[in-house]
């Protein structure tokens, strides 16, 4: 019986981490549904970007209040992991505050966790007020209705509860230490929790232990649940921001890729020695689909982008089309891509890992033509994204599908394109008149 808590703890831990890895596997399978793209270049630049943007949070501070609050929560999250490590070791071994022999360093660590916990509570409250009372414009766009809004608040509540549990646990522990309770090593500094400790004045040791243990258990269960909640939440970004910034676009923002399949066809068309009527050889691969109408047509970095999106709406609030009331919202492009990818993933789960045609696709069922054609390709969304997401690349892939596979461009654009084809200019003028401006 003595080992019951340890065994229980081990079971909880294994279940928690097991589920997490199951989700990670699903995540990586879904991302790999995307087309391959070579991102093995410029490793040093990529590491630098990751260090600067994900670790260093350089893009967050473009908006100082949100940036500062975010850094607090982020540092709190990173540091709290040291605490979690201790909890896990204690849980498995049945020890208490196993790192206590670190002495002064330990006091400092626990003390700083407490201060951070308090700062996190403050930040969480500020975040909550911005979302629910001030109602910052970018948090109340139509794409945020329903789950995204709930998700945003939910995470704040979870963080608040976790921090409060942590402080309660320490406050009870502090009391137990004062009372010389067995097992409760005198260790740690409690700059914040000692302020709430008086709440427990006069409580018996056994009741204090009950409080301390309850808070301890809830704290670790809470952390494990949080870990498993991530997959379903925009909070996946706390993990994916790192690979995502690593794989982020390195070339100038204005540079769009030159579709290789098109290059081959154009070369063939322009090659005077090629036989235009030659029948395709037997083993010729299926002609490639141009552009993207569904998530599988996008590349895996674009799909990773979709899972990384934090739904912060910085892209949308900078988007000129969105600011002037058009339907386009780059954030919605990312959210739609993720939703559709999840739907495809669920479809595969239900069909033994094979995707069964469901009569739906990203284009049309999620993203409308109207949204796609409203984009000015200005790159403001790309610039604004704090985690190096490129919504514009998805918009362009879908335009490519509309134009090259479906000839479904707006009529005026079709006119413009046939002018280019016929006259070498978007306007219907004669190419021979190209120099008239000199003498006008």
């Amino acid at each position: 019986m003595e080992y019951l808590p340890n065994i229980l703890f081990a079971i909880v831990l294994i279940i928690g981490i097991g589920f997490f890895f199951k989700n990670v596997k699903k995540l990586s399978r879904n991302i790999k549904l995307g087309k391959d793209v070579d991102v093995s270049d410029n490793k040093s630049q990529r590491w630098k970007n990751m260090a600067r943007i994900a670790l260093g949070q350089t893009k967050m501070v473009v908006r100082p209040i949100a940036g500062l609050m975010h850094i607090i929560v982020y540092v709190g999250f990173v540091i709290i992991n040291i605490e979690v490590l201790e909890i896990i070791i204690d849980g498995v071994l049945g020890t208490h505050r196993i790192f206590a022999p670190l002495g002064a360093l330990y006091d400092f660590l626990i003390g700083s966790f407490e201060v951070l916990a308090l700062l996190v509570i403050v930040a969480v409250i500020v975040f909550w007020i911005r979302r629910n009372i001030i109602k910052l414009k970018r948090f109340i766009k139509p794409e945020m209705d329903g789950w995204p809004k709930k998700d945003g608040n939910m995470i704040l509540y979870i963080e608040l509860v976790l921090m409060l549990l942590f402080l309660t646990m320490n406050a009870a522990d502090f009391q137990l230490q004062q009372l010389d309770a067995a097992h409760y090593t005198k260790a740690g500094a409690f700059p914040v929790s000692q302020l709430i400790a008086p709440l427990f004045d006069g409580m018996s040791i056994s009741n204090l232990i009950l409080v301390e243990r309850t808070a301890w258990w809830l704290h670790i269960i809470g952390i494990l649940s949080f870990l498993n909640y991530l997959y379903y939440s925009k909070h996946l970004h706390i993990l994916l921001a790192f690979p995502n910034t690593y794989y982020g676009k390195l070339t100038p923002q204005g540079k769009f890729n030159n579709v290789e399949a098109v290059t081959n066809e154009v070369k063939l068309m322009m090659d005077p020695s090629a036989d235009p009527f030659a029948a395709p050889t037997e083993d010729a691969p299926d002609p490639e689909k141009f552009g993207a109408s569904d998530v599988m047509d996008l590349n895996w970095v674009q799909l990773l982008n979709a899972y990384t999106c934090t739904e912060c709406g910085r892209c949308t609030s900078e988007c000129p089309a969105n600011q002037t009331g058009k339907k386009l919202s780059p954030r919605k492009i990312m959210m739609d891509t993720r939703d559709r990818l999840e739907e495809v993933g669920k479809n595969m789960d239900a069909n033994k890992g094979e995707f069964v045609e469901d009569g739906k696709q990203l284009l049309g069922d999620y993203i409308s033509h109207e949204e796609l054609w409203a984009c000015t390709t200005c790159n403001a969304c790309v610039e604004a994204c704090p985690v190096s997401i490129d919504p514009l690349s998805i918009i362009i892939e879908m335009r490519r599908f509309l134009v090259m596979e479906q000839s479904a461009a707006p009529m005026e654009l079709n006119n413009m394109m046939s002018n280019i084809e016929n006259n070498g200019a978007p306007w219907p003028y004669n190419q021979m008149d190209r120099l008239n401006w000199v003498n006008e």
Partner: protein, 263 residues
Amino acid sequence: MSEELNVKTMEAFMAEGKQPEILFWVGSAGSYDDRAKKISRAFVKILNKANVEFAVLGPEESCTGDVAKRAGNEFLFQMQAMMNIEILNGYEIKRIVTCDPHSFNTLKNEYPGLGGNYDVVHHTQFIKELMDDGRLSVKGEFYKEKRITFHDPCYLGRANSVYDAPREVLKKTNANIIEMKRHKKAALCCGAGGAQMFKEPEKGDMDINVLRTKDALDTNPDIIATGCPYCNTMMTDGIKAHEKEGSVSVLDVAELIANAEGL
């Protein structure tokens, strides 16, 4: 009719067995659009004044295909690009200057992947170079005391991080350069990019150029300076929408320099 401009085609250089210092890529807007033609002319006046030996392709130039690419027509883009590259490579062109940030971007970033490698420069960068090298100077007081605000074109600024050249050139006019609230990286689009120039905007509460022109008007300018023919059109229309065409003008950086020099 205005005064003679000295413009030679690449074909003429070839006939003389010479290579020009630069190729001036005029672009479709610069060749055909009435407003943009004035920018081409102003830039040529500057080149003539600084004794730059430059060539144009004339009837051999074709649309870069940029706008087709942004609209999603990769086929058309690559056809245009490959045709242009064949001509440019045939003439062994090394250096290209253009007044159009869209041509600038695609020639610089997207042509290399298709076999076209050139040193591509925006005209504001080239004007700055001429000034730095002492080949061109602005002594005039023409714009002294005037308030000028510069609108960053997306395809020059955010797309290629060129922010300083146009500003440094403008400073030479002795005008007051005032920044809009959103500028450089944070600049708002004029609304023309991504093929929007050639179609009606989608439904919304406002047109983008009207919003952007408001940013500019908030600086209380005498002149809105642009570095892109499409921005120029958009801001000019924006001024009209705000009924400010009597008091505020929209001029390309090249035009400002040409005017300051009395060219």
